[in-house]
């Protein structure tokens, strides 16, 4: 039964076979191996003898379940790889287990396949696990599938039953945009429609399973896309630096320029280093593991990506991903994980869990956590810039594994990102090495100045401190500037004359701007008595200036007079006291007015937090909607 062997001298075509635990995958594989003459001599006899010793009936699945433990428990524990060949080509089958808790093993096997076979029990129909597996095949990028409706013998080879299962599965696959090439009624135990056409189902005229998998085209290699090579390592040899890595897309000629990301530096490839090669390489192409020498000693390390200068990769601190979660501890918002993407590793936090997807009915809902085996759309944030591509464009740079400590806890595909422009350092010197937009992208919000003004006793400091605590508790970088921490240090040389008050406000405005530029939300709580002073502050600070008027009638302020200042001012002990012996001009068009005479502290805090949420945090990066892709 061994076939004409020209085709055997070709790399095996990987297919994954998935299905609900009892739907007969292993039986189907065992029988297919037998029918194609792929089993080693004596294997079936050996297993038959083993079954006889155990007083158990022979089952085809035992061919795969070769481990002791699996035979005893009658389940497939881990993904197994089995080689076989048809008359057309060689295959490596990845048998993925159906047990729900063994999802990690299924992913381990299925992620490397070029095509999938989904096995469904004709009697049981489409199960929750069937749907989950189909969804995962789609999610990890298996481009093509066929469906085998198995155990047709148990439903008397009924065309009606087959059509019912076919319709149900078709409807699901259509929703997840996974197209099944064909659906085939089979009875694996008896070999019907595996390698040989079934005589029990004359109503079926489509291909057998073997014919169907022989029709799968090989996966398209990304040679036509722009050159991309994640740096795996940098070696030094004979005084030369060798940049090593695997080309993930495109091709490159010796002598061409490359650009390194995220640094944006460029150099020329002057040597393609090899050992014991048949001939000197003049170019490199997708899939090759190469070692390159450049004409310039650029800063390059593992995790960087080499590209052609003309087609830069995507760069972002914020990615929209679709992930599958493998850990028994649910994924929660705010969690910190390691993202392994190509050869790079990034510390990321779960910025938001945008949608949790129930694969059984494909319903989407908001959720605060993702359970084990769950699938969700999530926004990830990284402190450092991630160099990537969309999964749809280039899987090798568009997918990543998530680690929590030592453990692999999930995988994700990148569907969008808030891209940032990286200035090419080969051009002119750039004045700002880090732009405000980059800080904003990293922090998730812009720097800002909340300029609180109001009479003494209006409640500026009380409100500022409560606000600072509230924002800090939300994980925002916040700092309060007030008379106490500024007048005692930076402005200790200033008194309270009109000029000195103006200078005080100018300096406070400049300091506020620096803090804001550095990405902090600044609360400035000063009296700032005149329109001119506040206008100057607004000019200095610019767009990040938010004027908050803490209003309270002077009678209210005077009645509070916690520090006894009004009394001293009235008695003349204090000169130049705003509102009494020095002018007070209420803000004319504040961005927000809070009347602490009418509102409680909590109500006041609510008002100002609502304002911040609406006007400042709204500027937070929004991941692109995957549906807009």
């Amino acid at each position: 039964m061994k076939n004409a062997n020209v085709k055997i001298r070709e790399r095996a075509f990987p297919i994954v076979i998935v299905g609900h635990i009892d739907h007969g995958k292993s039986t189907l594989i065992g029988r297919m191996l037998y029918d194609t003459g792929s089993l080693p001599t004596g294997k079936v006899e050996e297993l038959q003898a083993s079954c006889d010793r155990r007083n158990a009936p022979f089952e085809w699945s035992f061919v795969l379940d070769a481990l002791q433990l699996e035979r005893d428990q009658a389940i497939t524990v881990d993904s197994t790889q089995i080689w076989f060949h048809t008359e057309t080509r060689r295959y490596v089958i990845i048998d993925a287990p159906g047990h729900r808790e063994f999802l990690r093993n299924m992913v381990t096997g299925a992620a490397s396949a070029n095509a999938g076979v989904i096995v469904i029990d004709a009697e049981q129909g489409v199960s929750e696990q069937t749907r989950r597996h189909a969804y995962l095949l789609h999610l990890i990028g298996i481009p093509q599938v066929v469906v085998a409706v198995n155990k047709m013998d148990l439903v008397n080879y009924s065309q009606e039953r087959f059509q019912a299962v076919e319709a149900e599965m078709k409807a699901y696959l259509k929703e997840i945009e996974l197209k099944a090439q064909v659906m085939i009624p089979v009875a694996a135990m008896h070999g019907d429609n595996l390698g040989l056409r079934s005589t029990n189902m004359p109503w079926y005229s489509g291909p057998t399973l073997i014919d169907a998998i022989d029709d799968f085209p090989r996966a398209v290699v990304a040679t036509e896309r722009p050159f991309r090579m994640p740096v795996q390592d940098v070696y030094r040899q004979d005084g030369r630096r060798l940049i090593v890595g695997r080309v993930e897309s495109g091709q490159l000629e010796l002598g061409s320029a490359i650009t390194v990301w995220p640094t944006g530096r460029s150099a020329d490839v002057v040597e393609i280093k090899q050992w014991a090669a048949a001939k000197d390489a003049k170019s490199i192409t997708t899939g090759e593991s190469v070692a390159l020498t450049l004409n310039d000693e650029l800063f390059i390390e593992r995790g960087h990506v080499l590209t052609v200068p003309t087609a830069r990769p995507r760069s972002s601190n914020s990615l929209s991903v679709r992930l599958f979660w493998l850990s028994s501890d649910p994924l929660r918002q705010g969690e910190s994980l390691t993202l392994k993407l190509a050869t790079a590793e990034y510390d990321v936090t779960i910025d938001s869990i945008d949608t949790v997807i129930d694969v059984s009915d494909l319903s989407r809902h908001r959720g605060t956590q993702v359970p084990q085996n769950g699938i969700a759309e999530v926004t990830l944030r990284s402190r450092s810039t991630i160099t990537y591509e969309l999964f749809h464009d280039l899987p090798a740079l568009g997918r990543a594994v998530l680690l929590d400590g030592y453990d692999v806890v999930g995988g994700c595909i990148i569907e969008g990102g808030q891209d940032i422009e990286i200035a090419s350092r080969n051009l002119t010197a750039v004045t700002q090495s880090v732009k405000a937009e980059e800080r904003q992208a990293t922090n998730g919000y812009p720097g800002a100045v909340l300029w609180m003004s109001g009479l003494s006793g209006a409640g500026k400091s009380t409100l500022a401190m409560a606000l600072q605590r509230e924002l800090f508790n939300r994980g925002l970088q916040v700092y309060t500037l007030d008379g106490d921490n500024v007048r005692n240090g930076l402005n200790s040389d200033l008194g309270f004359s009109e000029e000195e008050r103006a200078e005080n406000i100018r300096r406070v405005a400049e300091v506020s701007k620096l803090f804001s530029d550095a990405g902090t939300i600044v609360i400035s709580a000063f009296i700032a008595p005149t329109n001119a002073a506040r206008a100057q502050a607004r000019d200095i600070i610019g767009d990040q200036f938010h004027e908050v008027y803490i209003s309270a009638d002077m009678s209210v302020c005077e009645s509070r007079d916690a520090k006894g200042l009004y009394a001293k001012a009235r008695s003349g002990e204090i000169n130049d006291f705003t509102g009494i012996s020095s002018p007070w001009e209420p803000p004319e068009n504040p961005d927000l007015e809070i009347n602490t005479g009418e509102l409680t502290l909590n109500e006041s805090l609510d008002r100002i937090v609502t304002y911040i949420e609406g006007k400042i945090l709204i500027a937070k990066d929004k991941a692109l909607d995957p549906s807009e892709k």
Binding site: K2, N5, I8, R9, E10, R11, A12, G37, P40, T41, K43, A66, L67, Q68, V77, D78, S79, T80, Q81, I82, W83, V92, R104, N105, V107, T108, A111, S112, I140, V221, Q232, D233, Y235, Q237, L242, V244, R246, K273, Q274, W275, A276, T285, T286, G287, E288, S289, A291, R302, L326, K340, A396, R399, A400, V401, L403, G405, Y406, D407, V408, G411
Partner: protein, 264 residues
């Protein structure tokens, strides 16, 4: 790229990952065809010279041709060779059947090498198509402190992202040839013209298809005296590769027991 190029590129990628992540690291050289191919691939990965030791777990029971090969090619290939004697058979679990017990000396030798040289990881030449338990392996496979393999609790491994971070005390086996088949190995030997122990080629109607120690490895009937003839023979045979390895067949689970106890 043809399919052999693709296999080669993937193995080089794996070897470079291992070298980047583990220090010290060694490569287990059994003197057999697979580990010789692996050394060849390592020389390609590291541009001419393997930057870590080749470790031969010496039982003293190799065939004379194998020892001669070792002496010649450890020099020819510029290897940093470690070839310590394995502990004696008296130290092996006496409940194992005889050939398995003999083979288990290598497991003790392996543990001894790890203890003596502090290897964080060892590169070995096993392939998934050799044997059912090996089909379950990961490319980067963590072992317990006692070198044991828990195949039920293996970490996920996908998208060429290998597990390289482990708690202290974990030992890692790296398998750059896991995705190759026996025929792939010979096609590569042919293309690259890689020297092999002559016992692989038929003499007096016999050759070794899988090479182990004297006493526990049997030759097969064969007239294949060239690589091409070997490839033709393999493409026609339905006999398993390790049929000549006594310890695989002593009892139904003998090889599995060996492997969970740390055998390659």
């Amino acid at each position: 790229m043809d399919d052999i190029d693709a296999l080669e590129a993937q193995s080089i990628f794996i070897l470079r990952e291992a070298f980047n992540k583990f220090d010290p690291i060694g490569l287990l050289w059994s003197l057999g065809k697979d580990s010789c191919v692996m050394i060849w691939l390592a020389k390609k990965a590291f541009l001419g010279r393997m930057p870590f030791p080749a470790v031969h777990l010496d039982t003293g029971k190799e065939f004379p041709e194998a020892y001669a090969f070792r002496d010649t090619y450890s020099k020819e290939w510029d290897l940093n060779l470690i070839a310590d004697d394995c502990p004696p058979i008296e130290e092996v679990d006496a409940s194992l059947p005889p050939a398995s017990r003999f083979a288990a000396r290598k497991s003790l030798g392996l543990q001894q090498a790890i203890d003596r040289y502090g290897f964080k990881a060892l590169i070995t030449g096993i392939r998934r198509d050799e044997q059912a338990t090996r089909a379950k392996e990961r490319v980067f496979s963590p072992r317990g402190a006692d070198n044991s393999w828990d195949f039920r609790e293996q970490p996920p491994e996908f998208w060429d992202q290998y597990n390289t971070d482990f708690p202290p005390g974990t030992h890692v086996r790296v398998h750059p040839l896991l995705h190759w088949t026996e025929v792939d190995i010979w096609r590569y030997i042919q293309r690259e013209n890689i020297p092999m122990v002559p016992l692989y080629y038929a003499k007096d109607g016999q050759r070794f298809r899988s090479l182990g120690e004297i006493g526990i490895t049997e030759p097969i009937k064969s007239n294949a005296t060239t690589i091409s003839e070997i490839i033709n023979e393999l493409e026609a045979t339905k006999d398993p590769e390790r049929a000549g390895r006594t310890m695989d067949h002593e009892t139904e689970d003998s090889f599995e027991r060996l492997r969970t106890m740390g055998y390659l």
